[in-house]
Amino acid sequence: MSIFNAFTNKGDFPVAQIRQGFQICLPVAISAASYGMVLGVLASAKGLSVGVMTTMSLLVFAGSSQFVAVDMWLDPLPVGAIIVATLVMNFRYLLICASLGKIFEGRPLLHKILAVHLVTDENWAVTMTRKDRGNPAFLIGGGVCLMIFWQSGVTLGQVIGNVLPPPEVLGLDFAFSAAFIAIVASMWKGKADILPWAVAALFAIVAERYLPGKWYVIVGALSGSITAVILSSLPFQKGARHDTAE
């Protein structure tokens, strides 16, 4: 019961604020559920069981990296490449969670250890736009909401996917490419993205020919990202603001 006490003692996590976080995150959670459904359909086409996907969704709880892992899911399973791809994909959580320092100020380590798993892009964004800069209880409410909807969406997608005809018949073999293209389009920030993205594609295509397994993903991703860094440090680049960090 000690974990339960840590969340209820001394009004550390007021129920009213947990509920408020839950309610305010509902719209983004519904869109996360539809995103999860897509993943579920793709996962069932790959032959992943509901048990495997549920465990992954609850323990990893980071949507886009789960898409990547399911796409890389082959027999024999490229365990190392999947873990490294997850690391690369989720590196941004370092910064996302670093920005939550103020919200968790003065909280004991246990609160941080327990709550931080529930931080996602969505409830982080909602929390950061709050006038009062949010609080851990609000963040937790949103995280629980997202986890419930995300997990349900994935399972529902798997149930639907299991009754669909074989993937090739429906053009579902193109589904991963289509899903990733759509996700990438939503990440478009402007013309500065063109070169890093082109470099990522080019290096991936070349590396895929010469490297074993799925390592071309890592090579492409890192070279694209490094290109973005080089571009941003060119003197004529507008909005290159790295003076504060150096």
């Binding site: 897509v38 959580y93 670093a98 429906l170 490419s177 759509a182 990438v184 991936a204 990202s225």
Partner: protein, 102 residues
């Protein structure tokens, strides 16, 4: 069917969970020591999109004209609607129909 009883499957999921949780907790605990702007921030911010592009580029390029067309139309639909399900369905249906006709 991939089941949870498979040792490699457990290893993959626990590994994914461990790195993701470490990044979350590491970020929160290291907090102010991490640069919020600058080169590292630029690199980390770009990673998700470059991972996805690296993942699909070889498959799309070797997929032939049907996949190229579907890729472009999916991209345009996504930019226009901003909806994952709609843009994905458009691409998948295009490939399915295209294959049926050709």
């Amino acid at each position: 069917m991939t089941q949870l009883s498979d040792m490699e499957v457990i290893l993959a999921i626990l590994g994914m969970a461990a790195v993701t949780y470490s990044l979350r907790l590491g970020g929160l605990l290291m907090g102010s020591y991490l640069p919020q702007t600058g080169k590292w921030a630029v690199a980390l911010e770009k990673l998700p999109s470059t991972v996805l592009i690296a993942l699909i580029a070889p498959a799309v390029v070797t997929g032939g004209p049907l996949h190229w067309t579907a890729a472009i139309i999916t991209m345009l639909t996504a930019l226009k609607t901003g909806n994952l399900l709609i843009s994905m369905s458009v691409g998948v249906i295009l490939v399915g129909v295209g294959r049926a006709i050709m």
